[in-house]
Amino acid sequence: MYEHDVIVVGAGGAGLRAAIAANEAGADTAIVSKLHPVRSHTGAAEGGINAALQEGDDWELHAYDTMKGSDYLGDAPAVETLAQDAREDTMRLEHWGMPFSREEDGRVSQRPFGGLSYPRTTYAGAETGHHLLHTMYEQVVKRGIQVYDEWYVMNLATSDEDDPNDRECHGVVAYDVQSGQIEGFKANNGVVLATGGPGQAFDHTTNAVSCTGDGHAMAYRAGAPLEDMEFIQFHPTSLPSTGVLISEGVRGEGGILFNNEGERFMFEYGYANNSGELASRDVVARAELTEVDEGRGVDDEYVHLDMRHLGEERILDRLENILHLAEDFEGVDGLVEPMPVKPGQHYAMGGIETDENGQTCINGLYAAGECACVSVHGGNRLGGNALPELIVFGKRAGRHAAGEDLGDPEIRTGYGDDVEDETETDLPVQPGAAGLERSGGVAADGGVAADAEGALERAVERERDRVDRLMNKDSGVQHAEIRSKLQQAMTDYVNVFRTEAGVKKALKIIRECREEYQDVYVDDPSTTFNTDLQQTYETRNLIDVAETIALGALVRNEFRGAHWRQENQIRDDENWLKHTLVSWDDGEPSIFYRPVILEGEEKTYEPKERSY
């Protein structure tokens, strides 16, 4: 068994920042990650970091833009914390040597991004995430923070009191991918989940193969609710054949979208008469699919993104990376022809419910970054707001987990007297655990509150048994088949445009995937680098997470932010200014709601029409 004060799971932007913060607060900190840190998907972020740095801009404008972008589903205390802290935390990166793009006077460059009232997206070429990730890993090396890389975290070691609010997280169980050894990692102060997004729940995604929602699923099964999971951002400019992302920076620099008739449809058809291509991502994604549906798509599948008029010099200076991506992954030269683009799953606004200190309702369990929902993005994330979220809330979670006092949070978590139960849902199938899955959320201790060691030992035993079972089974279904079926269902029925019938169909298929998973087996008999076993674990996590996305999409019968429902195509503030929460409840998912907090420090954000 390994033992540290703070265990950070995942080594992308949020995880590294949390680890640095915990280390600086004096905690013995370790990172446990299935990937070596520099392999993390933060490295693929292209656009930039929103921060109000210049004269004429201020954090209140950033907060206002973020709240409007969220379609009034962000919680004001989180949104304001983001806007306030982003300035200092971005400058901190600069002092750690991050190579930001520069102006003639030597200051960091900022550019316009969709939904922003001021050009405040701080960037490093079109590779901002790569530089952010490497800069923070450098600081981890400098501080000598212990990294257990290529250790896959299989589950949490959480006590099993009836009320999740009374539970405590004592650590994690992980297995060394290289050797197959399964070990407990005891966390004396706290566990910070920073495991990234669940993009692999979808077939067409900009996300890495590793984005399998592991943290979401582990926290969910341990009793922490998942919040606003129905809000999935579909990025309007992904390459059709691979899902590789073409940065919003292209449109920020002046790139134009055309349909197959050469019309600039964002204006021609009135999708966004003021902002055009720079309208919020959900607006542009729906516009593109509407063009395709109405027969104005290219090859009936995509639209064109043209940046040729920007000129070779400007493109090479600011968007060179885009040329490589278009060339390598679509065979298109962006200097001489327009690039084909279509919406692709890109980001999950929802995630593990946390307060503004990163803490979940389970004592000692934190989450930060894309896997968390604090919530700053609400119904829709603005471009350039993911990276500041990583550094601001990564830092806060790390500090709080290390024992620093950050003040009492205003955001509440877990089931409590301020929530409203969902009572009317007509579910096509019973969601939740099937068969053997039922156990496995928390470290069962027969009703006796476990001490930390006891909880951890039981959690380790449970994972060893699970691995034995998967490895000893000689035939059945393989995870790849189930995963593929799940991904297809999500892309077919829980995509940009959603209908009640479609989402119900998805829930049925998800149920089938669960049933089939009962028969899953791992064919590779090796204990050395068994990715078959790891992916089988990941597929189970994807099933749990996909189900929460579909459940949220079914109950929220309105159109807000990225979530569109055919049956009720209006934003219904009277009934839906509230967060959707799905709780595992020992295998039987329950849904409840918590009101959104629109009261900021000094003002209240009144919901307005979100037009661009």
């Binding site: 600069e94 002092h95 520069r102 590789v244 060179e320 060339e327 791992v522 008999p525 090796s526």
Partner: protein
């Protein structure tokens, strides 16, 4: 175990290094495209409806039949735009779930999937199948211990990266409250741009004959990492000198014999050899002792 020694890398610089310095990567790329330098550049589309023949290196230290390295054949249905990574993923998901390789982002930023493809270090995800002769031979990176199939032990690579103090060092970090950025000219930022693109894939290290013969040689990636900091005006002269002292030690920059193999295989087009040469010149200018 270790992979077989490959054919010796070319001992000559493949092209005039001065020429290389004046060309942008994009220009070079376009030129290559036009002159058809890729193995089989004009066959795009020829594979429509056909299968791709892969020969994939297999090894597992504990599984019977795989303890002796072997090659397995896979025939994968071709799809337009298929990359080497797509092909091995298909083979794994459809034919043999034990086929093992690292991969994550699929877009050449995570640096996980550098393989030895048809005798050259390449990233699987950015290598188009149509550009390769068949059968496509896929092996783990040479000169590194093989863990299993296409997975090599990266620990030595990481150790070398860590050996150059790969983190920004300034005299003092300002207090948190009133942070203002350090100024840096756009020219200086441009100067370090290419060096900052490294994705730690290890292709360069694997291609380097010197690294193969001298286990302590820092290698192109680590030296390039140091270059990024040494050339950054935001660090002080004193720290730059400190960096050069690390680099001009016995197993540092002077080991490089300017063979350009690293530069040739770098998937991010980083002029690694040029960077090493420049650091040699800097070390001489600073009158540092050299080996």
């Amino acid at each position: 175990m270790s992979t077989q020694q490959q054919e010796p890398e070319t001992q000559e610089a493949p092209e005039d290094p001065e020429m290389k310095g004046t060309q942008s990567p994009q220009e070079r790329r376009l030129e290559e495209k036009e002159s058809g330098l890729t193995e089989d550049a004009d066959s795009a589309g020829d594979l429509e409806g056909e299968t791709v023949h892969l020969k994939v290196f297999r090894y597992d230290p504990e599984v019977e039949g795989k303890q002796e390295p072997r090659f397995d054949d896979f025939h994968v249905p071709f799809e337009k735009g298929m990359t080497v990574l797509d092909a091995v993923m298909y083979a794994r998901d459809e034919y043999d779930s034990s086929l093992t390789f690292r991969h994550s982002c699929r877009q050449a930023v995570c640096g996980s999937d550098a393989f030895f493809v048809n005798g050259k270090q390449r990233l699987g995800c950015k290598t188009q199948i149509v550009e390769l002769e068949q059968p496509v031979r896929i092996e783990p990176l040479p000169h590194q211990e093989v863990v299993k199939d296409l997975v090599v032990d990266m620990d030595h690579f990481y150790d070398q990266m860590h050996a150059v103090e790969p983190y920004f060092q300034d005299e003092e970090t300002p207090a948190a409250a009133d942070l203002e950025e350090q100024r840096q000219s756009p020219e200086n930022r441009e100067k370090i741009k290419m060096s900052s693109r490294c994705i730690w894939c290890g292709a360069c290290m694997s291609s380097c004959n010197i690294a193969a013969g001298d286990n302590e040689y820092l290698g192109p990636a680590a030296i390039n990492k140091a270059y990024k900091f040494a050339m950054d005006d935001r660090e002080s002269e004193a720290i730059k000198e400190h960096r050069l002292r690390i680099l001009e030690q016995e197993h540092g920059v002077w080991r490089c014999q300017t063979q350009f193999s690293c530069t040739e295989v770098c998937p991010k087009d980083i002029p690694l050899t040029e960077h090493i040469q420049e650091l040699k010149r800097e070390a001489v200018k600073k009158n540092l002792k050299f080996w």
